[in-house]
Amino acid sequence: MTVVGRTWDRLTIPGKILAVVIPLGAALTAGLAILIAVVGGAVVQFLADNLPLVRFVVAATIVLLMTIPSAFLIIYMEMKVIALMNLRYGPDRVGPFGSALSVVHGLKVLMKEDFTPTGADVPVFTMAPVVVYMSSVLSLLVLPFAPGLFGQDFNIGLLYFFAMGGLTVVGLLMAGWSSFNKYSLLGGLRSAAQIVSYEIPLTLSVVGVILLAGTMSLNQIVLGQAGSLFDWYLWRQPLAFVVFFIAVTAEANRTPFDLTEADSEIVAGFATEYSGMRFGFFFFAEYVNVFIASGLTVALFLGGWNAPFNWPWPVTVGLDPGGLGIGLLLLLAIGPPLAIVVLGLPFYLLNSRIRFWQALVIGFVLFNVVAVGAVLGLAFLSFDWVVGLLWFMGKTYAFVFTFVWMRGTLPRVRIDQLMGFAWKWLLPAALLNLFVTALAILVLKR
């Protein structure tokens, strides 16, 4: 046995791990340094030349990653809000007020068995959830969250949005057809009829806004509503707002237009035969669609990220951390421990049952709360996109709440009533709105 072998045997488990990790890291670092030295300039040059591409990839990744937590949040919100409307408790076990339940649901869905029915068209059956989820995420890409915070600013943004939204129906039809189940088939056909019918009033109701804004870029439309509450398109296009909201509810398959997954009629519609994460994709896509529908309504009619009144901001904060020089380092070193002690001290002094380390833990938690609050407040004051994001999210979640509220209150409409409503009421209303808007613009511009 060699020296190396004996030494290796004597090492503890953390020692063995370190003995592997440290040389490996060193080798990798050296390799990376060599790689950067050789081809780094070219890569940086390439990335700099194709900045929009980089931006697109980064934005797409962020948007894709963002969908899961926002879906979790909406699912939790729906469970809790509907529970309160039903005079139930709702989720209250996992996490504070049960807020981690939707995460647990997500994990459960991941771990469940994922099976395919006999007789299903396997490739189509597998691809259908992907198509549905992809179309949701892709349409999220053009949604303007805040000034400068959006995936891509197309000048045909709205058109792209409806094109991607329309892809959903392909996925639902694929799911309905390939499942080899009659309930699925009925659900798929219903979704095709419903989404295709409501696409028309949906798109027509937005044309008025496009005429007013003079552009199809969502970013520009939001910028056109800058100012106060009364600059929003809601006041200039009330009829379009109503039509749009109803049509977008139908597009997102939400109550009272949730015929595609009407559980008391066709079990779960297109999703009847799905299980495991494939069902999870449908489930998440539904809630992402709710978010998208709310966000689009906000962007088009409620001013997007604009505040409803002229907030006296930005307040200039005369704080320049760089000016402190070496003092900044000192502050970072001394500040936190001092703050922890200062915040924990009252608990130690005032309650004799709390030990000093418990007081320190309390102080640490309090310090974190204060520090995070301070940093967020600073960000709120310093960067206008934070303010914009807060306003946008606030309005969007107000609309998400409206969707949940409707789910808790309304029964489901019948398929003939649904189609009749789209063609007999929404379409004429949207056309009327379009003509009146065009006429007004002609008269006023002249």
């Binding site: 509907i82 409307m85 039903n86 005079l87 139930r88 006999t118 007789g119 080899f180 009659k182 309930y183 009925l186 219903r190 109550t255 009272p256 949730d258 015929l259 009407a262 559980d263 008391s264 009629e265 066709i266 079990v267 789910r407 808790g408 209150t409 309304l410 029964p411 489901r412 409409v413 019948r414 398929i415 003939d416 009533q417």
Partner: protein, 412 residues
């Protein structure tokens, strides 16, 4: 996929539950067509598909069949052409069991029949046995029977409201009405000792006298019942989507309803004020003052609104029972072992769904010779086949829910 994957030899009459059958795609076993030649004219007609039609096998596990019912729908697109309810998934043979139990034991088989209005299932056999025995029930026991029965009627109608709304897609009313029902059920549990399967009515009276907990719960509930019921109904009655879906749906006229042997709210919704409490009075109902609501439309909305009117009349009856409750015993004096003289008796009462009736034959032993249980759910479920064709799939559930069948009673 054209290959036949049948590694086993499948008998021609194999049940569709046989795992070997589901492997085979060539036989078309995913169709709910029975694996034997049609036996009747109607079966042959139903299980023949015309162009563009298909079968949908709704149940036995389905969210809105109110129990374990299987309905084979023949659909043309969204339209229901015809349907064939297949019963028996919950059949326990209660009538046969009763023939092998003595008279007291037979009553406790009645509770699980219509498990949300159990007192009415007990009431008619108890009345039939009392007729066989010529027993006079004490007046206080009659009052307690009417009081608890009307409470049970309200609980049953509350659940009807919730289920009807749920089958139309509304999530909230079922939970609100379960709250109402839960208070009543707790109240009855204080009186009878059980929440659902009470076994409270006995031959010659009731099992126990009113107690303090029941009375205090009843008083607390009565003070707010009207307000609760009104607010629950406002959620639906003022809902445009609900009203538009229920109005003009599943219309049945008086003559057809009588032909279909309908009773109860479903018959009264067509304009006939037939209520056994007035038409053929029993118990102390002749002494009580209440109205028999009726409506003339005969559609789902009328059936729903009529039941809601009945809830208010039941509240009136409860109020009068509490005011007129006499003192006295709650059980007639009877031996433990009952051997009625040979004879026949028929007793029918008005339950929340219609006529609950029992035809009992005694042969002089301690066990009934024959006990026929007539259940309104069974009668009303068969008119789904009459009302539904021509409507949409979604309306099938609405019509079925508006007739309010309970599968425990349908399958006996």
């Amino acid at each position: 996929m054209t290959t036949t994957r049948t590694p086993f030899d499948i008998p021609a009459h194999a049940s569709s539950d046989d795992p070997r059958v589901t492997l085979d795609e060539q036989l078309g076993v995913f169709e709910p067509i029975p694996p034997y030649p049609p036996r009747t004219e109607r079966e042959a007609e139903f299980y023949t598909l015309r162009d563009g039609e298909m079968f949908v096998n709704m149940g036995p596990q389905h969210p809105s069949t109110h129990g374990v019912l299987r309905v084979v729908l023949k659909i043309d697109g969204e339209k229901v052409v015809d349907l064939d309810p297949v019963l028996g998934y919950l059949h326990r043979g209660v009538e046969k069991l009763c023939e092998n139990a003595d008279y007291h034991q037979a009553i406790c088989y009645m509770d699980p029949l219509e498990y949300i209005s159990s007192l009415f299932c007990e009431w008619s056999p108890v009345m039939a046995f009392e007729k066989l025995l010529d027993v006079q029930v004490p007046r206080r026991a009659e009052y307690i029977r009417v009081l608890s029965g009307e409470l049970n009627r309200i609980a049953s109608h509350a659940l009807f409201m919730g289920w009807f709304a749920l089958d139309l897609g509304g999530l909230t009313p079922i939970l609100w009405s379960f709250i109402e029902r839960d208070e009543i059920v707790e109240m009855l549990a204080a009186l009878t000792g059980q929440r659902m399967l009470f076994n409270y009515f006995r031959i010659g009276g009731v099992n126990g006298d009113l107690n303090h907990e029941f009375m205090s719960r009843l008083g607390a509930w009565m003070s707010k019942a009207t307000a609760h019921i009104d607010s629950n109904q406002a959620l639906l009655n003022e809902n445009e989507i609900f009203v538009r879906r229920a109005r003009g749906l599943g219309v049945i006229d008086t003559a057809t309803a009588l032909q279909m042997c309908m009773t109860g709210p479903n018959l009264r919704a067509t304009g006939v004020p037939f209520d056994i409490r007035r038409a053929h009075p029993y118990s102390i109902y002749p002494e009580l003052d209440f109205d028999i609501p009726s409506r003339t439309e005969g559609d789902c909305l009328a059936r729903y609104l009529l039941r809601m009117d009945e809830v208010r009349q039941s509240l009136r009856i409860i109020d009068q029972c509490l005011h007129q409750m006499p003192d006295g015993p709650v059980m007639a004096k009877l031996p433990r072992l009952i051997r009625p003289r040979p004879g026949r008796a028929y007793a029918a009462i008005e339950g929340p769904r219609g006529q609950y009736a029992t035809y009992a034959i005694s042969d002089g032993t301690d066990q009934p010779y024959r006990m026929r249980i007539h259940d309104p759910s069974f009668i009303h479920l068969q008119s789904v086949g009459l009302l539904t064709p021509g409507n949409l799939i979604a309306d099938t559930m609405a019509i079925m829910a508006s007739l309010d069948p309970i599968m425990g009673g349908v399958d006996k």
